[in-house]
Symmetry: C3
Subunit: 112 residues, 3 copies
C-alpha cells in the first residue's frame, strides 16, 4: 500500500481528478496549501510599499492505492497537472503499513 502525495496548481485539480479516475484510482483527498519550490522569492510593490511573494497557493492531493502500481498514479497525476511552466509541482510516494475502511471494518489492500 502506498500514499501518493502531490502538490499541484489549483486550476489543474479538475484535470487531475479526471486523470486519476481514468487510471483506476478515483479515491483522493484534497487540501488547500501554500508553498514554494526552488525559485527565489519575488519582490513586488503595492501603493509604494515593497512586499515579497514567496508562498504560492497550491493544492495537495493524497491518493492511497493498493491494487495499481503507485508509479501509474504518479504518471497520471504528472501528465494531467503539467503546463510546462515553473510551478507545476511535485509528486512523492510514501509507504503505508496498514489500511482500514471504517464503515465495513475491512483491513489491508481491500480497505483502500
Amino acid at each position: 500500500i502506498k500514499m501518493v502525495v502531490a502538490y499541484i496548481r489549483p486550476d489543474k485539480l479538475s484535470d487531475v481528478k479526471q486523470g486519476l479516475a481514468e487510471a483506476g484510482a478515483p479515491s483522493l483527498t484534497v487540501t488547500n496549501v501554500s508553498g514554494r519550490g526552488s525559485q527565489p522569492a519575488k519582490k513586488g510593490q503595492w501603493r509604494g510599499e515593497e512586499y515579497t511573494v514567496d508562498l504560492h497557493q497550491k493544492v495537495k492531493i493524497e491518493c492511497v492505492v493498493a491494487d495499481i502500481p503507485a508509479q501509474d498514479v504518479v504518471d497520471a497525476i504528472a501528465e494531467s497537472a503539467r503546463t510546462g511552466e515553473k510551478g507545476d509541482g511535485k509528486v512523492f510516494v510514501l509507504p503505508v503499513e496498514s489500511a482500514r475502511q471504517i464503515r465495513t471494518g475491512k483491513s489491508g489492500p481491500e480497505a483502500v
Copy 2:
C-alpha cells in the same frame, strides 16, 4: 513510531477526540480537507443548471504514537467515527523514522 492518518466525517471529530483520549493517545492534528471515496460523482440541479458533487467535506486527523500500538489507535478512531453509512472514511498507518519535541529538544519515542 507511527503516524496514524484518518479521514473522517466532520461531525464525528468530537467523538474521535474523545475516543483517542480514552485510548491514551490525546495528541492530534486536525486539517479541513475534501475528498471522495469509491462512490461515483453525484449529479444535481440548481436553478436549471446541472452540477456534479464529487468532493465531500471531511476532516483529516494525524496522530503520531510511540508508546501504544498503532492498531489500538486505528481501532479507537474507527469505532468512534463509525455511523455505518457510506462516507465514514478510512484510516492508514505510516512509518515514522524520528521525532523531536521542539520545546525540550527531546528525540525519539519520548518526544512523541
Copy 3:
C-alpha cells in the same frame, strides 16, 4: 528521500522559512491546521457559558529533502520555531520512496 513534517506556532512561520532557506532546504509546503499536544483541555467562560479550548491553531510544514540530511532540517526547524513555552510543536521524519518533478519529468533525488 525524506519528508520532514513539523507542527509549529503560526507566528514562527516566517522564522522557520528563513531557517530552512539558510539550511539549504528552501522548498516547503504550508497548511493551516489545529491540534493539541499533551496538555489537558483548558476550560474558560464566555458570557456565563463554560467552554473548552482544546484545539490550538498551528501551522504544518512539509519539507521533502534528498541532498541534505533530514536531521539538519529537523535542527533548523526546531531552532527557528522554539520559544521555550509549552506549545512549540514537534518535528517528525517520514520515509519517501520516490519523487517526480512535474515540469521536467525528472525522477529520484534530483526531482526533490
